[in-house]
């Protein structure tokens, strides 16, 4: 593991030629350039250069502008896609914006935009003024596509765009009602072919600038020839397939569709196998190609949070089925590009017994992740009982190299969850073909649309304690707090543990109903604002049905209600159960005052009295005693079954609630209306609700809405990421001052895994990651053994591993430049620690340390 680029290069310098850690000279040169690039402020498009498709276009006549304005929105969108490619490849704009370039060392050409999830995007506008106003009433605009689904890259590499265009032309002729859709797809695909051709020209231009005899000239000419051929025609070789995927990936991201890669090893292996068989590719050459691909996916990162740009608007990347302004925790998403690459797992068949899917490309992908110190792409490794041991060994070595790659997903649990959530609509073979998106969300690769929503478990406890109100705003303004749910019994009337749990469930049921209700009401509202013709070409079901992705065209409609803050909730419930209802160390009303005053910080000092704004009076001293008691209780995620079982019960209750509320008569009319609207001759419209547990990077954002919790956490402080054991509270030092302990909260993976071995984990088809911090000296053989345990089902559904000593984090905060390769798992991807805002850094430092 290397903390900074200087150490990394020094290590590589010490290696002999052919060492497995040593990339090719070409890759080293590219890597050296992106290290420099990461340190600089990324260039951005000027929004005025991007402009509008027709409004204020002086280069168009009035008649031409009028003609464009009259076109259907979907056609205008596809023309905007083309226009975007024209803008970003314009030499003048490209120089200012860094939007289009070819490096002589590149094998894989293309340029990703700087549009990370946190920074937002630019895209050519195409709506009329009236349309824009109408859309804005629903918080939508041209910038509202969310991407966030797994495209079918296999289609791109096995068919070729011309063939898809031909299909569209034929289908349009046969289905006049869908002509606009097919035309929009055709125009979008032609735009990508144009985009690729621009790179071919640029490669030739750059080659001409090189001195005679430079070996890179022939490499660039070959790259240009590839881009003349693909993506119009299907790739025939491994490198053509990689280039095809990358240019399409760039095209998606430049046109507001932030999407992942999918099951790369499965897509590429046939090309690899054929090329090797034909003697035109060696494993070393294939590894170099993949390394180049990795670098292209990682080149847009930045190391300095002062370099963050904010281009997000109220309408950016709107979740399907969501209503409201689009505000999320951008500050934690600086380098999140949603570039998930899924590998391993099982073959997508309906056989009774699974067949391991790992192959040579699987191993090469892990190698690229191990030896290249990047944050992106995020590698997601699917594992199961039959995962070969060498894959797990490679994974362990890769994790200990420090990049928090790969994420491990347990196929047996995830596939069971997808099948249960699919309620008969998702076949076994489809479930076995899942791939990760966004952070790690699982979905049927290339055939699903997807969205999600949150239900906060700690908030449910607040509402149960506090008559349906949240605790964060309790005080002089809102008195009891912000009212949001049923007014349930007051704390003095909650006389038993069972009654308390029943109240929690009442609030949970309402939350699930609200999620489903909002989804039903708003589904399909994007089609007249921001259709996705390009992405629709690569989502199964759309071309077949003649419907855009935003118009119900996908084969599967996967929506994931996510329960968040479970470890905070379980820890709190355990404290309440034990201290209030079992040992009766304190009363629920005392606890409520302690929490509603944020452990006494919100007590009002007046005329020598110290009192809460509302609720029974409890002295500061007593509140301190209560907090100490709460802090000292056992916590979730360390193999304490008495706590863990509370988390399992919460999950089971949640999954039951999701499925029961969805089938409730309350929603049937709306659901039937959607089905009537979207059923077609190819697909029936069935919503699959696949629960999961996840905060992603929103462990601070989610915590910011919460009041103090009975686990001892203060109001507004961060919660744990995903389904991880909770961090040490913000007001407690991560490294104790005793000079002995490495961390204030220490555990072992063996014991922690016990907290996840429960059938409830098989119900979370969208996954429930446990994010672990390991010390840098964690023995590789022991990590291999733990990964084997996990693959065999003796752990949760997803696990991630950040490798960094507590002291490393502390030093990195003091001397960032010396830790510019220190990377951490953000709940959904890998981030450079020094790029994080201090509050995020503090949360990572406070995550428990799991030692061998």
């Amino acid at each position: 593991m290397h903390h900074n680029d200087v150490d990394y290069w020094r290590y590589l310098t010490s290696l002999h030629t052919g060492h497995i850690d040593l990339p090719s000279p070409r890759v080293c040169r590219l890597l050296e350039r992106i290290f420099q690039r990461w340190k600089e402020k990324p260039l951005w498009l000027d929004e005025n250069d991007v402009g509008h498709l027709f409004l204020d276009r002086n280069d168009l006549s009035e008649e031409e502008r009028d003609e464009l304005a009259k076109l259907p929105v979907s056609i205008r969108k596809s023309l905007a896609v083309k226009r975007m490619f024209e803008v970003i490849t314009n030499p003048f704009i490209a120089e200012k914006a860094g939007s289009f370039s070819v490096d002589p060392d590149e094998l894989v050409l293309g340029t990703m935009p700087p549009f990370s999830v946190g920074q937002g995007k630019e895209f050519v506008l195409y709506l009329t003024e009236d349309e824009r106003l109408t859309a804005m009433l629903s918080y939508l605009s041209e910038r509202s596509p969310m991407g966030h689904i797994v495209p079918n890259h296999e289609r791109a590499v096995t068919v070729g765009f011309n063939a898809i265009i031909n299909d569209c032309e034929k289908l349009a002729a046969k289905n006049p009602d869908q002509e606009n859709f097919y035309t929009s797809v055709k125009l979008s695909l032609e735009a990508v072919i144009f985009f690729a051709s621009q790179y071919a020209e640029e490669a030739k231009r750059v080659a001409a600038t090189l001195p005679d005899g430079d070996a890179r000239i022939s490499s660039l000419i070959a790259a240009a020839q590839r881009l003349i051929k693909i993506p119009a025609q299907k790739p025939d070789t491994f490198i053509e397939a990689v280039q095809c995927i990358y240019i399409l990936h760039c095209a998606f991201h430049w046109t507001a569709e932030i999407v992942p890669i999918g099951r790369l090893d499965q897509i590429l292996f046939p090309f690899y196998e054929r090329d090797v068989r034909n003697g035109i590719l060696t494993p070393t050459a294939a590894q170099e190609i993949l390394d180049c691909f990795w670098i292209k996916l990682g080149e847009r990162a930045m190391l300095n949070r002062r370099h963050i740009e904010n281009r997000c608007t109220a309408t950016d990347g709107v979740l399907t089925g969501f209503f409201g302004s689009s505000n999320y925790d951008q500050g934690g998403l600086a380098n999140q590009w949603m570039q998930q690459i899924t590998i391993g797992g099982v073959l997508p068949n309906d056989e009774q017994y699974v067949t391991d899917a790992s192959n040579a490309v699987t191993r090469m992908c892990i190698q690229s992740s191990r030896r290249l110190p990047l944050n992106s792409p995020t590698l997601d490794l699917r594992v199961h009982t039959d995962t070969p041991q060498d894959i797990l060994e490679l994974a362990a070595q890769t994790l200990l190299s420090g990049g928090a790659h790969p994420v491990l997903l347990n196929d047996d649990k995830i596939i069971k969850g997808l099948i249960e959530g699919g309620a008969g609509k998702i076949s076994l073979s489809a479930a076995r073909n899942y791939a990760c998106d966004g952070c790690y969300e699982t979905m049927i690769a290339g055939e699903s649309e997807f969205s999600f929503g949150f239900v906060s478990a700690p908030e449910l406890i607040e509402k149960a304690l506090n008559r349906g109100a949240g605790l964060a705003a309790a005080g002089p303004i809102h008195l009891i707090g912000t009212k949001d749910s049923w007014r349930t019994e007051a704390a003095p009337d909650i006389t038993s543990w069972d009654k308390f749990l029943k109240l929690i469930k009442e609030h949970m049921v309402l939350s699930c109903h609200r999620y489903i209700n909002t989804l039903m009401l708003n589904y399909g509202n994007k089609v007249n604002v921001c259709p996705s013709p390009l992405l629709s070409a690569f989502i199964g079901g759309c071309i077949e049905s003649g419907r855009d992705l935003t118009d119900g065209g996908a084969r599967y409609h996967v929506f994931s209600p996510l329960l968040t803050g479970i470890s905070t909730a379980a820890d709190s419930l355990y404290a309440i159960k034990k201290l209030v209802f079992e040992e009766k160390e304190l009363s629920l009303t005392e606890l409520l005052t302690a929490l509603s005053t944020n452990w006494g910080a919100g007590l009002i000092h007046s005329n020598e009295n110290v009192l809460p704004a509302l609720g029974i009076a409890v002295s500061p001293k007593r509140i301190d005693e209560i907090r100490t008691l709460c802090n000292d209780q056992a916590k979730f995620g360390f193999g304490n079954k008495e706590v863990d079982v509370l988390a399992w019960d919460l999950i089971n209750t949640f999954c039951d609630c999701v499925h029961n509320t969805f089938s409730s008569s309350v929603h049937q009319q709306a659901y039937k209306a959607l089905q009537n609207r979207y059923n077609n001759s190819v697909n029936t419209f069935d919503i699959s609700l696949i629960p999961g547990v996840g905060t992603f990077e929103q462990y601070m954002f989610s915590g910011s809405f919460l009041g103090a919790s009975a686990d001892g956490r203060r109001s507004g402080d961060a919660i744990a990421s995903d389904l991880s054991p909770a961090p040490v509270h913000r007001d407690i030092a991560a490294i104790p001052a005793n000079g002995v302990s490495r961390h204030a909260r220490v555990g072992t993976l063996e014991k922690s895994f016990e907290s996840y071995v429960d059938s409830s984990m098989n119900r979370l088809g969208d996954g429930a990651p446990a994010d672990y911090n390991l010390p840098e000296d964690y023995p590789v053989d022991q990590l291999v053994a733990r990964l084997r345990d996990f693959a065999n089902g003796n752990g949760g559904s997803i696990s991630t591993y950040t490798v960094a000593d507590p002291a490393t984090f502390a030093n990195a905060q003091k001397d960032p430049d010396s830790y510019n390769l220190l990377r951490v798992r953000m709940g959904g991807w890998t981030e450079f620690f020094i790029c994080l805002f201090p509050e995020h850094q503090e949360q990572h430092r406070r995550r428990p340390l799991f030692i061998s």
Binding site: V6, P25, C28, K41, E95, T209
Partner: protein, 427 residues
């Protein structure tokens, strides 16, 4: 034999800024020695295609005191006029005694470098909207072992390298810059704020305070035009188009602890440097190049060719073949144009403050300067684990007390309308 050739003059009409690779001795020996083999050999070793630095150097660093692209452009125009006037100005004979001979020229050059902060500040602010034009490898100099200063704290917007054959010429120009007397007559210029001024001088024997010949194996255009090839950016370097014919500058003020150094015996000093003190011949068993001044290290880990921590082995290991980037070690050389400095007593002590004003010009800052410094010179595990860093720094003889990275734009002397960094303002 002593032969007095006419001194080479600054090249002001070429594509490159003056004061980098000029004044430069012609590659071919002068006619006067064509029949003298010994003199030709001497010429080939000492002069052919090499720079002939002026006698004095003054390094001025400064920040700009403007806040818009337009005002920066205006500033650069004004500065360029001043620089052009100073370079082309003839020696003044006012108040010179009649019988006192003064040369026809003091060979004045003023080389201007731009710091990375002009393009983007350390806080990430694009002050002038030109960050997309920043030369690829220009950045704030990273801190390395041996630095006693924080380069991020001393980084400046501009550097002026004032060279001439008379110290007062340099002083006069430096004063004008620092006191605001460089612009329109009668108006005190406040658009630049001078931060530091350092003065250096050269000795005819090229030896500096350590008593070794500095730059004995420096680049020369007599070797396949390597001087120009190693110093100036070309259009195939992946740099912004405007940067072609510019050069990177790594500048350091290197403090030399002379009492400590002089306590070492000559043979110990030779092992630390890696060359013989009197002749400059390398300690390696094999040598190459004119007069055998280039060492040969067939095995970079073989101590028979000199200690592995010897300065010249740590800054240029000369390994056969290519490295992990496919680059030969010798492709990582740069032009050295150093001058000794003497600052008198260190404030408040009885210690002499002296050393070297180190200037390295490169075509690729990362490849030719930063990589050798980080991966060889200050890497304790190069060429093998436990070797230690360059002993000149490791022992405490040398320490860096100031410095920075800059980019010297192409010439603005070759057109009357041209000015410093003109292409930065074309859009």
């Amino acid at each position: 034999m002593i032969i007095n050739f006419p001194l080479p003059q600054p090249i002001v009409n070429g594509p490159f800024q003056t004061g980098i690779t000029d004044p430069q001795w012609p590659v071919s020996p002068p006619e006067i020695i064509l029949d003298d083999e010994a003199a030709k050999e001497q010429y080939a070793f000492e002069r052919a295609g090499r720079i002939d630095p002026q006698n004095f150097l003054t390094v001025v660093t400064a920040n700009v005191n403007v806040d818009t692209k337009e005002s920066l452009c205006s500033l650069f125009k004004s500065l360029s006029s001043f620089v052009k006037a100073q370079i082309t100005r003839l020696p003044d004979d006012n108040h010179i005694p009649v019988l006192k001979e003064i040369p026809k020229t003091w060979r004045v050059t003023i080389t201007v470098g731009l710091g990375s902060l002009l393009f983007i500040t350390a806080d990430g602010d694009d002050r002038f909207g030109i960050r997309h034009l920043k030369p690829r490898w220009l950045r704030t100099m990273p801190k390395v072992t041996g630095d006693t200063f924080d380069p991020s704290k001393t980084a400046t917007d501009l550097i002026f390298l004032i060279s001439s054959d008379h110290p007062y010429v340099n002083i006069s120009i430096a004063r004008a810059l620092s006191q605001g007397n460089w612009g329109q007559q009668g108006i005190k210029e406040k658009r630049i704020i001078v931060k530091t001024i350092d003065q250096g001088f050269s000795r005819p024997d090229r030896r500096e305070f350590l008593r070794f010949d500095d730059g004995i194996d420096n680049l020369s255009n007599s070797k396949d035009d390597e001087l120009d090839k190693f110093v100036y950016v070309t259009q195939s370097d992946g740099e912004p188009a405007w940067a072609t014919n510019g050069a990177y500058l790594a500048w350091r003020k290197i403090r030399e602890n002379l009492p400590f150094w002089e306590a070492f015996a000559n043979h110990e000093q030779e092992k630390m440097i890696g060359r013989k003190k009197d002749s400059g011949v390398p300690l390696s068993r094999e040598v190459s190049g004119p007069s055998g001044m280039a060492p040969v290290y067939p095995n970079p880990k073989d101590k028979a060719d000199g200690p592995l921590t010897a300065h010249i082995r740590k800054v240029q290991p000369r390994r056969p073949g290519t490295d992990l980037f496919g680059v030969a070690d010798l492709e990582r050389r740069f032009l050295r144009r150093g001058y000794p400095y003497f600052d008198g007593l260190e404030t408040g002590t009885d210690k002499i403050a002296c050393g070297l004003l180190f200037l390295a010009f490169t075509r690729n800052l990362r490849k030719q300067f930063e990589w050798p410094v980080e991966s060889w010179q200050t890497n304790p595990d190069f060429p093998e684990p436990g070797t230690g860093i360059d002993i000149m720094y490791g022992s405490g003889v040398l320490s860096n007390v100031s410095g920075g990275y800059y980019f010297c734009p192409p010439s603005f002397m070759n057109d009357k309308d041209a000015f410093l960094g003109m292409a930065l303002f074309k859009h």
